[in-house]
Amino acid sequence: MSLFRQRRNVLPGFGLSLGFTLTYLSLIVLLPISAAFLKTMGMSWADFWHAVTGPRVMAAYRLSFGASLLAGGINAFFGLIVAWVLVRYNFTGKKIVDALVDLPFALPTAVAGIALTAVYAKNGWIGQWLEPHGVKIAFTRAGVLLALTFIGLPFVVRTLQPVLEDLEPELEEAAASLGANRWQTLTRVILPELLPALLTGFALAFARALGEYGSVVFISGNMPMRTEIVPLLIITKLEQYDYRGATALAVVMLVASFALLLLINLLQKWSAQWRAQV
């Protein structure tokens, strides 16, 4: 529907609120992003290409995008289970478990990073048992994945919970009376209903992981080519007063994440094609 047809809307205040929305988004989101682009404009194409395709940078892209996608996937799976348990069952301590889910939101990320490192380091609570079996978490890529999974969990749980609560019990009863067993009901009736929300949760967790810095720097060990994430690389460049190099990386990250989020949104739209098209 075009912008101008909205003008006759019975709800008052469309012009004012849209104006406010655009101004607000420009100030908070568009302005800093444009600054990054503008700063990069100062570079020649060759410099830009050199800055964003070095081997160390490429390794960082792989780790950042790879670990973020994987963390989003892990969260989508386990977050679904957590949300399911929180919505479907009643048990003592449910309120506490529910509150725990929000903890990664509230905890300063540096605290999370330090805590995870302490637990998974060679002499940590869990690390000391894993180390003898040759499993290293702290200061490896697995550690990065762990930190990114930790901070992304609430996004999936909190997007799924309301959708699960609204899921009619009749759907499952209908499936059962039609002869579907539990597994068929889950895979053919419940999951397709949840898929749009699950994809939204995944996208949020992924986006959050991509931008995460605080918790990762402590647990990753920050070894170039191996456990260095892109945000860290940007900080490193900033510390060397290479502002243009830093913004060049930022621009690449921006474009890439925008493209990925767009893709996820399209997927989400496709998975929700059955919703009312009014």
């Binding site: 009619e168 009749e170 759907l171 009863e173 209908a174 499936a175 059962a176 009376s177 039609l178 002869g179 579907a180 067993n181 068929q184 053919r188 009736v189 397709p192 209903e193 898929l195 094609q273 059955w274 919703r275 009312a276 098209q277």
Partner: protein, 352 residues
Amino acid sequence: MSIAALNIRKSFGNYTALSGVDLNVPSGKLVALLGPSGSGKTTLLRIIAGLEQADPGSGRIQFHGEDVTDVPPVKRGVGFVFQHYALFRHMTVFDNVAFGLKVRRSRDRPSKAEIAERVNKLLKLVQLEELAHRFASQLSGGQRQRVALARALAIEPKVLLLDEPFGALDAKVRKELRRWLRRLHEEVHLTTVFVTHDQEEALEIADQVVIMNQAKVEQVGTPQEVYDHPASPFVYQFLGNVNVFREESLALAGNGAYFRPGALVAGGLVYVRPHDVEVIPHEAGMDGIPAILRYVHAAGPQARLTLEQVQTRELVEAEISRVELERMRLTVNDLVLLRLRQTRSFEQDYAI
């Protein structure tokens, strides 16, 4: 396939939904479970479908003499239609109807072509062939309920159970659909039980009406039986509008004023349907209950009159034809006499 429910009890915490209910549905009949909300009718239906378990130690459910009490709903072979359709929103109409066939184990599952053939046949039956590839969100309420019905019929159920199937639809569609359900029933002759709180619906299409109240069955019979011979004041009141007179207030009206169904208990109550109240112009010395016309509601085939009894000041509803109303030239505040053509009385400890 006949259905029998024997001595079914069900409580939710302190609340008793069913207290020892028996139900017999003869094979191939269309039976209505009729009652106000909270009477236990939906719970009974869900227990028949296996979606709810009766209290442990209480009665049994039998299909055609075979005990199915412990058979889970998945294996009971029951077609169930929900009040709010419960369609699978992410599937097309076609896939919704095909669902019950597609989830069968591979050795019982018909081939793709057979499934398509059967689904199309069912969609034709419910007159929705051209909407096969729509999603539920693109259908009207009446269309959705027809899809739900086709979906339930696709598994060739032994019995068909409908829980307030037309409750969420507007009045006109509801009327159309219930006649259509009756016709459908005559075509497929499936033993069918439907729950409703709408007496008009139950009386119009059911072969047999089971009236429930407060976790119990009040009366079972054909629509005519229950309407003409209600077993209790509750049934009488539930099946239509009713006026209640105290016996002693009629004593003054004279012998010609009302039809006496045998001896009346002193202090008893007399029940009269509005269409059995006769209104005649007032004439001194004639038998009848004097009353004043207070309100005339003449929109519709019948005129509904509200009258106030002169002696008791209690209100009476009467339904007379509009021709008759015009012939008498009655206007508001006229004095008239009432006569009761058909009455019914119950002992007072049946008090409502």
